[in-house]
Amino acid sequence: MQTNSNGIHTIEKKAKEDRYQHHDYYNIDELLDDDHLLARDAVRTWVKQSVSPIIEEYSEKAQCPTHLFKELAEIGAFGPSLPVEYGGGGMDEIAYGVIMQELERGDSGIRSMASVQGSLVMYPIFRFGSEEQRRKYLPKLGSGEFIGCFGLTEPDHGSNPSGMVTNIKDDGDAYILNGSKMWITNSPVADIAVVWAKDEAGKIRGVIVEKDMKGFHAPEIHGKWSLRASITGELVFEDVRVPKANILPEVVGLKGPLSCLSKARYGIAWGAIGAALDCYDSALRYSLEREQFGKPIGQFQLTQKKLAEMITEITKAQLLAWRLGSLANKGKATPAQISMAKRNNVNMALEIAREARQIHGGMGITNEYPVMRHMMNLETVLTYEGTHDIHLLITGMDVTGLNAFK
């Protein structure tokens, strides 16, 4: 705080230094390889240099720092676990996890830019695309020359994507695409969209739509109080002629989009830990620096309870993510296991953000500290890629064998 010439206290605007420190209560680093540690260190350094100094301003103005797409590509954050020959990084799933964690330590919106590009655009083209599609799109997506987006959710079909109405009709050498998608990360700035639509037989297919195709628009959605540094939009298709060469040949049915979501949700299970760590880090430091009643607030039992519970929950989430990563490396992580980790870790992060906000007192609601921004972001993360409750029902179905969705 400063006092101006009228004797009124003003909030001092100073260049904020990212003072984040490493927290590893259970020596989980010992479970990681050199690659993982190096990847984490590299992304953390990049976040401190390129994200932390600008993120509050972009978030406040609800602008997407689009210049970071190229930087994310350069550091290798797009599809790190895809093969090098297709523009990926050739790393394992744990490396992908720690990269997402460090990005989200900076901001969930920046992590979303990378999750969508890697897991929801590059991955389906790699996994379900033709060799020609892979060669055409993946290197450009990996290098950030192309931005991609993923269209599954519709205005009337969110948690229930199988009810989608967006559709394709056979028209000789092309399909005619009609319908609309809602809440699509990156859509207004995307060069291509991987869109899920029903064919005439009612089967879900994936098509690659390019931005210049006639009848295709991607208006921005305004007024978000969450994920403000990530751009979100609609996808509107009015008789768009999509060449048949653009259909993803290797998958039919909901398992196409769901397998992409599994990849992205896996990354979110790690990412959320990053947001939680940043809130904990800030709260811990603040509790040692801020004094009330003649002592640091960290000396009060109620503050200690908050901090102790935060690091306990973070440690549990880290172990969950690490184990999930080990399973994923063997190709053994089930979608239900991924649901459990996504749900637990995002909720953990959101609760920590709320507690950390309280520890910061009034300062906690300002952009002097990252906590409120993380808290608002995490409201999206709790909902997208399968809502908190939907993941609970997936676990419920898995353990009972009974389907609560029908």
């Binding site: 420190q21 490493h22 050199d34 690659d35 540690l37 190096l38 990847a39 260190d41 590299a42 350094t45 990049w46 240099q49 350069e74 550091i75 290798g76 954050a77 790190p80 090098v84 990084g89 050739g90 790393m91 490396a95 990269i99």
Partner: protein, 246 residues
């Protein structure tokens, strides 16, 4: 140009420093290590820039135990072509300089670069001793270096200004801030580093002449005292009696 960059490992700058019970060594429990920033940001990056401009190779060398391989891998990920680790538990600056010299003397490097100091004990000794062992000229605190043919033009930081010197290869140089800009390794570099050669060489016998006997932390800073601007007598009294500045 064939360049050798000497890289060391140092506790992360946020480490809370503590010593073992008898005060003879750092307590390493829970300490996070990083590559010494002068080596990483300036020495290594300038070496890579010279190689990229004129061809050649960049080798990094570290004297230390196996745990140091993580730091070495980072150097390879940033772009060094190959690495050497002299297997040892380390020692004084002279011990380290001796080990590096033993390796370097058979390799005919054109330029050998160290950081101006390692941020743990700030001794700034290895470079000079290494130059002596190798019988090469030594230029310390270099903040700029250009090389044309066999001649390097180097700016040195001196108190309040800059000194520019010229030197022919081979020489030893210690790198200061300004020599280059930090490069962050990317994921591809990290994966490529796995396939680059890391050659482990056993240390030669060498009796250390200097042994640390005792470390001590600086006294804890006491709280700031605020004096009312109306009460100058109190300020004078404090400066006189407590700070003993008057």
């Amino acid at each position: 140009m064939k360049i050798l960059v000497c890289v060391s490992k140092a506790p992360d700058t946020t480490t809370k420093i503590a010593f073992n019970a008898d005060g003879t060594a750092l307590n390493k429990d829970g300490v996070q290590y990083i590559m010494n920033p002068y080596d990483e940001w300036y020495a290594l990056v300038r070496a890579l820039e010279l190689k990229e401009a004129a061809g050649g190779s960049v080798t990094i060398i570290n004297v230390g135990p196996k745990e140091n391989d993580t730091v070495i891998r980072k150097g390879l990920a940033i772009g060094a072509d190959n690495a050497v680790r002299i297997n040892s538990n380390g020692g004084s600056a002279m011990y380290i300089a001796k080990q590096i010299a033993e390796y370097a003397k058979g390799e005919s490097f054109d330029v050998v670069i160290t950081g101006k100091e390692t941020i743990d004990e700030n001794r700034s000794e290895v470079g000079a001793m290494l130059a002596e062992f190798l019988d090469m000229p030594f230029i310390s605190y270099a903040s700029k270096m250009d090389v044309a043919g066999n001649t390097a033009t180097i700016d040195r930081d001196i108190e309040g200004g800059t000194e520019t010197v010229e030197v022919d290869t081979p020489f030893v140089l210690s790198a200061a801030k300004g020599l280059a800009e930090q490069r962050i390794p990317n994921m591809r570099g990290i994966m490529m580093a796995k396939r680059k050669p890391l050659n482990v060489v056993e240390a030669v016998a060498f009796d250390d002449l200097v042994v640390p006997v005792h470390y001590e932390l600086p006294p804890a800073k006491s709280a700031v005292k605020l004096v009312d601007p109306e009460n100058m007598d109190e300020l004078v009294r404090l400066l006189h009696e407590e700070a003993k500045a008057l």
